[in-house]
C-alpha cells in the first residue's frame, strides 16, 4: 500500500508540473509595459513554489515507501523532535517567504503607488450591469459633469453626462476602450450599480470598479491590437458575458480618432474593431 501511495504521489506531482511546463495553459502574451516584470515575478514564484511542492510530495512519497511496517522486529525510531531542525527550517522558510513578499510588491507599486505620468490619457470607466462605458474628456481635456439623475438607458445616457455643463459638449462615451500604443493611460474606475471588476488578461491586472469610489490605476499598453475585457467580480445573472473590447491603436490612428465628435467617433470605433482581430498581436 505504501509503495502504491508513493508512486501515486510522484506521478501526480509529475503530471502537475507537466501541466505548467507544457505551455498549453499559460498567460496570454503580455502587452503592457509592466507585463514583463509581472511575468518575471510569476516565474520566480512558481519556480520556488514548484520546487517546494515537488520536494514535499517527493519526501512524503519516500517516507510512505520506505517506512512501511513490514513486520520488522525493531520498533519505530523513538524521537520527540529536534529543536535545531525546527529553528533551521523555520528560519529558511521565513527568509524565502518574506523575500518573495517584498519582491512581490514591485509591479503593485508601479501600478498603484506611483503617480501617473503627466502625459497619461485620462479615461473614466463607468461599469454597469452588464456593460462597460468609457468616458473621454475630448479636446478640452476637461471631463463634463455627470449626475445620477441624468442616467437614462433609454436616451443612451448611461453615465448621466450633464449636457448643461459646457465641458461635457466635446466628451465622448463609448463601449470600447481605445488606447494609444506606448502612451500611458490612467483609468478612473467607478460603477453606477454594483461592484464589477475590469479584467484584461493581457494587461496582467484587474481592478474592481466600486460604486461610490474612484479607483485610479495607470499602465502603458505596448502592443497594437484588440483585446477582450471581462468582468471579474460577480455582478448578476449576465456577469459571464459582460464583455467589452480594448483597442490599442497606433498613435496616428488614435490621434485621428479622438479628434472626432461623438457620432463619428463611435462609427470609426466600429470600423477599427473589425480591422483588428481579437487577441492577436501585431
Amino acid at each position: 500500500m505504501g509503495r502504491a501511495l508513493a508512486v501515486f504521489l510522484w506521478v501526480m506531482t509529475g503530471l502537475s508540473v507537466w501541466m505548467f511546463l507544457s505551455g498549453k495553459w499559460w498567460f496570454p502574451t503580455a502587452i503592457s509595459e509592466h507585463g514583463p516584470a509581472y511575468d518575471q515575478q510569476f516565474l520566480l514564484t512558481i519556480i520556488v513554489v514548484g520546487v517546494a511542492f515537488v520536494a514535499a510530495q517527493a519526501a512524503l512519497g519516500f517516507a510512505v515507501w520506505r517506512f512501511a511496517d513490514t513486520g520488522q522486529a525493531t520498533r519505530a525510531v523513538y524521537s520527540h523532535g529536534n529543536n535545531r531542525m525546527e529553528i533551521l527550517w523555520t528560519a529558511i522558510t521565513a527568509a524565502i517567504f518574506i523575500t518573495l513578499a517584498l519582491l512581490g510588491q514591485r509591479v503593485w507599486w508601479g501600478l498603484h503607488l506611483t503617480e501617473a505620468p503627466a502625459n497619461a490619457t485620462q479615461v473614466h470607466v463607468v461599469a454597469q450591469q452588464f456593460q462597460w462605458n468609457f468616458h473621454y474628456a475630448g479636446p478640452d481635456r476637461v471631463f463634463g459633469r455627470t449626475k445620477p439623475e441624468k442616467i437614462s438607458d433609454e436616451t443612451i445616457n448611461y453615465i448621466g453626462l450633464d449636457s448643461d455643463d459646457p465641458a461635457a459638449k466635446d466628451d465622448t462615451v463609448t463601449q470600447t476602450l481605445v488606447t494609444r500604443a506606448n502612451t500611458p493611460v490612467q483609468l478612473t474606475l467607478n460603477s453606477r450599480d454594483v461592484t464589477h471588476s475590469f479584467w484584461v488578461p493581457q494587461l496582467r491586472f484587474k481592478q474592481d470598479a466600486v460604486p461610490g469610489l474612484d479607483v485610479k490605476v495607470h499602465f502603458t499598453p505596448k502592443t497594437v491590437g484588440q483585446y477582450e475585457i471581462a468582468c471579474a467580480e460577480l455582478c448578476g445573472q449576465q456577469h459571464y458575458k459582460m464583455r467589452a473590447y480594448m483597442l490599442v491603436l497606433p498613435p496616428e490612428e488614435y490621434d485621428e480618432l479622438v479628434a472626432l465628435p461623438q457620432a463619428q467617433f463611435n462609427k470609426r470605433v466600429g470600423e477599427l474593431v473589425k480591422k483588428y482581430p481579437v487577441n492577436t498581436h501585431f
Partner: protein
C-alpha cells in the same frame, strides 16, 4: 509540572466523586428515546447529530457542484429531469445563468458553514474533546444541545431558501461572500434571487453565528476547566489543541459576521445605507440610498472569513497529527512546535484578511502590508508540514484507511497551501484574483483537505463511536478513486486560472447553430480541461456513495471493535467501546504522560497509554484504582494488561 500523586482513592475522595456525580445530573443516562437520542445533552449524541447534519449538507452541496459542472460543460444541453424539477430554473431542462449562480451560492454556503464548520468541530470535537481530556461531559451540556439545535435551525432556514427564493433560482445569486451592493439592492436591479433569497441567507448565517458562539464557549471552558488529573496542557492530544484554537477563533470572528449580517439585513430591508453609497442608478431612476461603503462589508466579512478558513482546517490538522502518529507508531515530531505553530496560525489569521481585497479598491499601501503578513502565515503552515514529515521519518507505518486519508491530507494541504505564495503577493494577485486559480487553491487546501481530515477521523473513530469498524476493503476502494479524483478536479483549475478564466461564470462558451462559440476567446485553450474536470467530478462524487454505504452498512454489519483497535494511546481508547453515558463509567482516569508515546524503548508494547503510570510495565487504564480496589466492574477493556 509535577507528576500527580498516585494513591489509591481514599473513602473521602470516593465520596466526593459520588457527590460530584450526583450534583451534575448529567451522569445518569436518560431512558426515554427522545431525551436519549433527540434532545440529548450527552456530548456524544450531540457529536453524532452534528456529523449527520454535515453528511446531509455535504450530499446536497456535492449534488449542486455536479449541476454546476454540467451547466458549465454542456451549457445548452437539455436535461429533462431538471426541467421537471425546476420548471423555471431550468426551462425545458436547460439551466439558466441565474440558476447557476444560485447553485454557486448555496454550494459555497452549505459547504463552508454547514460542512466545514460543523463536522470537524461540532461533530468530532464534541464527541472526543471531553473524552480526550478525561471529562464526563461538556462544561455546559444544555448549551451544547442548544447549539446543535440552533445550527439545525440555521440549516432549515438555508434549505428553505431553495423553495422560497423565487421560481427561477434555488437561493440567492451573490456568492457565499454576498458582496453588497449586489446583495443589498440586487432586488431593485431585478437580479433574481436577491430578494427573499438574500433574507433567508442572512438569517441562516446569523443563526449559525449564534450557534457557533455557544459551541465555542463550551469548548473553551471544557478544555480549560474539566481536564482530568495529570492532564496538563502539554500532555493534551493535538486534536484538543486544534479544537481549542478553533473555538477561540470562532469566538472572536463569528460576532463580527453576525454584526455585518445584521447591517446587511437592514440595508436590504429597512432602507439603511451601511454598505450602499449614494448616486446609484438602475438605468431609469436613482436608488434611494446614500453614504455607505461596499468595501466596509468586505472588511467585516473577511475579518471573519479568513479565520473561518482556519476554523475549517485546524481540526483536520489536529486529527491528521493524531492519526499520523498513531499509525506511524512514533511520537509526534516536535509536539511543542506543533502547538506553537497552531497558535501562530490562529493569531496571524486575524491580521491577513486584506489579502482577499487587494483588488477591491482598498488603499494600495494597506494591501502591501497585508501581503507581507500573509506570506508570514505560510511559515507556521510550513512548520506543520515539516513536522508531519518528521513524524513519518523512521516510522513503522500501518496503512489502515484512516492513515491513508491522513497522508492524503498532508499531500493536499501542501498542494493547496503552497499556491498561497502566489495569491498572497499583491502583484501576482492582480492577475490571479477571482480566477480559477483561486478556486483550485482553496478547494484543495480548505475544501478537500478538510474533507480528507473528516474521512480520516470517521474511519479512525467510527469503532469507538459505534462499536464496529468500518469495512477496510471498502475504505481502501473509497480512498483511491477519491484522491486521484480530487487532484484531477482541482489541479487543472490552476491552469485554467493562468489562462485567465474568471470564477462565478455560468458558462464559457455557447453552441450557436451547432458550432461552439467562446464568449471570451482567451478562455479557449481550457476546453479539454473543462471536459476533463467535469468527468473527474462526476466520477469522484459517485464514488462517495461507497463511503455512505460503508458508513451505514458498518453500523449494523461491521466487524466488532475492541476498546482499542488501533493500539492508540489517548483517553478515548482507555474507556469502553462505545463509551458509557458518563464516558468513564464513574471512574476518573489519571494521566501520567504525553499523548503520543509510541515505540518507547523498554516498554512491553510499542505504545504506552496516557494512563499507564510505569512505562516499563503493562498498559493500565485506571492506575488510581490499582490493586483490585477499583469500584465497579471491568468494562471489558482489553488493554488493562
Amino acid at each position: 509540572m509535577a507528576e500527580p500523586e498516585v494513591t489509591a482513592e481514599t473513602p473521602a475522595a470516593a465520596e466526593e466523586h459520588a457527590a460530584h456525580g450526583a450534583g451534575h445530573g448529567a451522569h445518569h443516562a436518560p431512558t426515554g428515546f427522545v431525551r436519549k437520542y433527540i434532545f440529548s445533552i450527552d456530548h456524544k449524541v450531540i457529536g453524532i447529530q452534528y456529523l449527520l447534519l454535515a453528511l446531509f449538507s455535504v450530499v446536497l452541496g456535492m449534488l449542486m457542484s455536479i449541476l454546476m459542472r454540467m451547466k458549465m460543460t454542456w451549457p445548452d444541453h437539455a436535461w429533462p429531469v431538471l426541467g421537471w424539477l425546476f420548471p423555471e430554473g431550468a426551462p425545458g431542462g436547460v439551466m439558466t445563468p441565474e440558476f447557476y449562480l444560485s447553485l454557486v451560492t448555496m454550494h459555497g454556503t452549505m459547504m463552508v458553514f454547514f460542512v466545514l464548520t460543523t463536522a470537524p468541530q461540532g461533530g468530532f470535537g464534541n464527541y472526543f474533546l471531553p473524552i480526550q481530556v478525561g471529562a464526563d461531559d461538556m462544561a455546559f451540556p444544555y448549551l451544547n444541545m442548544l447549539s446543535f439545535w440552533t445550527t439545525l435551525l440555521g440549516l432549515v432556514v438555508l434549505v428553505s431558501a431553495i423553495f422560497a427564493s423565487g421560481g427561477s433560482v434555488i437561493g440567492p445569486t451573490g456568492g457565499w461572500t454576498g458582496y453588497p451592493p449586489l446583495s443589498a439592492i440586487g432586488h431593485l436591479l431585478n437580479v433574481p434571487g436577491q430578494g427573499m433569497g438574500v433574507n433567508l441567507w442572512i438569517i441562516s448565517i446569523a443563526i449559525f453565528c449564534v450557534a457557533s458562539l455557544l459551541g465555542a464557549l463550551n469548548f473553551i471552558v471544557t478544555l480549560l476547566n474539566l481536564r482530568t488529573k495529570g492532564m496538563s496542557l502539554m500532555r493534551m492530544p493535538l486534536t484538543c489543541w486544534a479544537w481549542f484554537t478553533t473555538a477561540v477563533l470562532a469566538l472572536l470572528s463569528f460576532p463580527v459576521l453576525l454584526a455585518a449580517g445584521v447591517l446587511l439585513f437592514l440595508d436590504h430591508n429597512a432602507g439603511t445605507s451601511f454598505f450602499v453609497p449614494g448616486g446609484l442608478s438602475n438605468g431609469t431612476t436613482v436608488i434611494d440610498h446614500s453614504g455607505g461603503s461596499p468595501i466596509l462589508w468586505q472588511h467585516l466579512f473577511w475579518f471573519f472569513g479568513h479565520p473561518e478558513v482556519y476554523i475549517a482546517i485546524l481540526p483536520g490538522m489536529g486529527a491528521t497529527s493524531h492519526i499520523l502518529s498513531t499509525f506511524a507508531r512514533k511520537p509526534i515530531f516536535g509536539y511543542r512546535a506543533m502547538v506553537f505553530a497552531m497558535f501562530a496560525i490562529g493569531l496571524l489569521g486575524f491580521f491577513v484578511w486584506g489579502h482577499h481585497m487587494f483588488i477591491s479598491g482598498m488603499s494600495p499601501l494597506t494591501g502591501a502590508a497585508f501581503s507581507v503578513l500573509t506570506l508570514s502565515i505560510g511559515v507556521p503552515s510550513a512548520i506543520k508540514t515539516f513536522n508531519w514529515l518528521g513524524t513519518l521519518w523512521g516510522a513503522r507505518i500501518r496503512f489502515h484507511t484512516p492513515m491513508l486519508f491522513a497522508i492524503g491530507f498532508v499531500s493536499l494541504f501542501v498542494a493547496g497551501g503552497i499556491t498561497g505564495l502566489v495569491l498572497g503577493q499583491t502583484s501576482l494577485d492582480l492577475s490571479m484574483h477571482d480566477t480559477y486559480f483561486v478556486l483550485g487553491h482553496f478547494h484543495l487546501v480548505m475544501g478537500v483537505a478538510a474533507i480528507f481530515g473528516m474521512f480520516a477521523g470517521t474511519y479512525f473513530w467510527f469503532p469507538k463511536m459505534f462499536g464496529r469498524k468500518m469495512n477496510e476493503t471498502l475504505g481502501k476502494i473509497h480512498f483511491w478513486p477519491t484522491i486521484v479524483g480530487v487532484y484531477s478536479i482541482f489541479i487543472p483549475m490552476h491552469a485554467m486560472g493562468l489562462v485567465g478564466m474568471p470564477r462565478r461564470y455560468s458558462q464559457f462558451y455557447e453552441m450557436l447553430d451547432g458550432k461552439l462559440v467562446w464568449i471570451y476567446n482567451f478562455n479557449s485553450p481550457t476546453y479539454p480541461l473543462i471536459q476533463f474536470v467535469s468527468w473527474a467530478a462526476i466520477i469522484t462524487v459517485s464514488v462517495q456513495f461507497l463511503f455512505i454505504f460503508n458508513f451505514f452498512w458498518s453500523l449494523f454489519k461491521g466487524e466488532r471493535a475492541s476498546d482499542n483497535p488501533w493500539e492508540a494511546t489517548t483517553l478515548e481508547w482507555v474507556t469502553a467501546t462505545p463509551p458509557p453515558h458518563d464516558n468513564f463509567g464513574g471512574r476518573v482516569p489519571t494521566v501520567y504522560r504525553g499523548a503520543y508515546e509510541f515505540g518507547v524503548p523498554g516498554a512491553p508494547e510499542d505504545y504506552v497509554l496516557q494512563t499507564t503510570p510505569d512505562e516499563t510495565g503493562p498498559n493500565v487504564a485506571y492506575a488510581d484504582e490499582a490493586e483490585g480496589q477499583g469500584r465497579g466492574s471491568s468494562n471489558g477493556n482489553d488493554v488493562h494488561g
